[in-house]
């Protein structure tokens, strides 16, 4: 399995570049990395302009990097998750559906290695896009909010990376279980919804990966970090991976 992994990851990476998956993800990350600090910083101006046109006065407190961070987290976690699901929903189901999976399976390659390679390449794609977004956000924040804590911000992005990676694994696993990309997307979106609803539960809510915002703010402010969402993410990743491998191992090509 190990011998074929570099070739498989190379193939997945090439696919990510040539089918514009990487480009789309980088563009989305860049968008939120630039837009979040700018929107936060210019919000008083925007509101006063809107208010003036309506003959009302809108007053808000002093804008800090917290506001920029809130914008970044809220927008990036929501739109970013949808983009991750869309770019990864067809990575196994699409190949099963169009027949190209037969090519791989006729080689001495284990099905687990195929899934590992797909997750590996997605991990790289997510990391590159997120780094681009993170550096843009950091650059603008440092310029607009001089007290912006750079190192804690970089550390906090690790949690966002785990969050995105968890949804990539969930989508790849669904993609391995079904024959059509759209079904993989529906499964992932449903899981996202369930994990978001779970946050409302007193007993297990603190383990939901949807609490990533709290973790990132804790990391940013230097507070003790609640690791329960990370543990929850790990459990979700393990469970979905096991199911994905089990179902994919039994998959047989049909006409």
């Amino acid at each position: 399995m190990i011998e074929t992994l570099p070739s498989l990851v190379g193939k997945e990476w090439k696919e990510s570049v040539r089918t514009s998956r990487l480009l789309i993800w980088v563009a989305v990350s860049l968008f939120f990395g630039i837009l979040s600090p700018l929107t936060a910083y210019f919000m008083p101006d925007i509101l006063s302009y809107v208010g003036a046109s309506q003959n009302i006065m809108i007053s808000i407190g002093t804008i800090t990097y917290h506001d920029a961070m809130e914008q970044y987290l809220k927008n990036f976690t929501q739109i970013g998750t949808i983009v991750i699901i869309v770019v990864s929903m067809g990575c196994v189901a699409g190949e099963k559906h169009d027949g190209s999976m037969q090519f791989l399976l006729s080689h001495p390659v284990s099905r687990t290695a195929i899934l590992l390679a797909k997750v590996g390449a997605l991990k790289l794609t997510i990391a590159i896009g997120q780094l681009v977004g993170m550096f843009c956000m950091a650059g603008y924040c440092l310029y607009l909010f001089p007290d912006f804590p750079l190192v804690p911000f970089i550390f906090s992005n690790l949690f966002l990376f785990i969050y995105f990676l968890t949804f990539a694994v969930i989508t790849v696993s669904f993609s391995a279980m079904v024959n059509k990309p759209v079904l993989a997307a529906v499964g992932s979106l449903a899981t996202w919804l369930i994990l978001s609803v779970i946050t409302l539960s007193d007993r297990v809510g603190s383990f939901s990966i949807a609490r990533v915002n709290d973790q990132m703010m804790q990391a940013l402010e230097g507070f003790p970090i609640n690791w329960k969402p990370t543990l929850g993410a790990l459990i979700v990743v393990v469970v979905f991976s096991v199911f994905g491998v089990m179902v994919f191992s039994r998959w047989e090509p049909e006409d």
């Binding site: 190379g10 696919e15 190209s100 090519f103 006729s106 001495p108 047989e252 049909e254």
Partner: protein
């Protein structure tokens, strides 16, 4: 010693039985033709032997090895309608295939160049596969199936998407493989099978009905055919209807009808009398050597009547 040994393989898809107790042995170095009507189980058996699907019952051995990952190292496979990654070039796909088979980089580059040339796709080697025609994909499929010089190569309908010139070239290529590789190919084009295959098996309803050397099969089962050509399609149809009344089975194609020479010999007088009395213009009367197609069609008819 048989390089492919299939022992009572059974495969069901939900309620449909695709293979029921198929056993087969193919000797090393032969080109083996696997024939059968649509849905007979050809593709299912090939997919099982290529390691893509698992049989419900039974077993197989290829080059002395059972159904393991290692077996795939000895096997090449071309799917019926090959689909590859549209965003890769032909050269990149062959490189990926070679790498997955663990080939050494230096040897692989030389092998890719020679195969691109051999399969007639050297001029499109660096073009993305997404723009390939069906024929080009099929040639690329053959190249990737033999890149690692396997002991056995399974080709599912390898010439179905090719034009006559392409068919000839690919059949010549298959013919030349027999020195190093055992070829197991399925095809609907019986002329092609007759041309290159040393052995033939016919499968129907998931069971092997005939397995013989091609020459012997023709000697045993093929019967010469007589072809009558008339002036028009209507006249040919009238003659065909009369033959039907006489209990003779015919195949009508346009202005010609064909029947077994033996049937014609027995009913010669009646047929010619009918032709004469109805003023049908018989343009030619020709005996034709038996072909694999005749054997196949005859066998399928017998199965149908049974």
């Amino acid at each position: 010693m048989a390089i492919i040994e299939v022992n009572t393989i059974t495969k069901r898809f939900k309620t449909v039985s695709a293979l029921s107790g198929v056993s087969l042995a193919v000797q090393k170095g032969v080109v083996f033709g696997f024939l059968g009507p649509n849905g007979a189980g050809k593709t299912t058996l090939i997919r099982i032997l290529a390691g893509l699907i698992t049989p419900d019952e039974g077993s197989f051995r290829i080059a002395g090895k059972g159904n393991t990952m290692e077996t795939k190292q000895h096997v090449g496979y071309l799917a019926q309608s090959p689909r590859f990654y549209r965003w890769l070039t032909a050269r990149e796909l062959l490189k990926l295939s070679g790498n997955l088979h663990g080939m050494e980089a230096r040897h692989l580059d030389d092998r890719i160049d020679s195969l691109l040339e051999l399969c007639g796709i050297a001029n499109v080697a660096d073009r993305r596969i997404g723009g390939f025609s069906g024929g080009m994909r099929q040639r690329l499929g053959i190249a990737q199936a033999i890149i690692h010089e396997p002991d056995v190569v399974f080709l599912d309908e390898p010439v179905s998407a090719l034009d006559p010139q392409g068919r000839k070239e690919v059949l010549d290529l298959i013919d030349s493989l027999r020195e190093s590789t055992t070829v197991f190919m399925s095809s609907h084009i019986l002329d092609d099978v007759q041309r290159v295959c040393d052995e033939v098996a016919i499968i129907k309803d998931g069971a092997i009905r005939i397995h013989e050397k091609t020459k012997r099969l023709l000697q045993l089962h093929a019967r010469p055919v007589l072809i009558m050509t008339f002036d028009s399609h209507t006249e040919a149809q009238a003659a065909s209807d009369l033959c039907g009344e006489l209990g003779i089975e015919t195949t009508a194609r346009g202005e010609t009808i064909s029947m077994l020479s033996a049937d014609y010999d027995t009913n010669q007088r009646k047929i010619l009398d009918f032709v004469g009395s109805h003023g049908l213009k018989l343009k030619s009367l020709m005996h034709q050597e038996a072909t694999l197609e005749d054997v196949f069609m005859h066998h399928m008819r017998e199965e149908y009547h049974d």
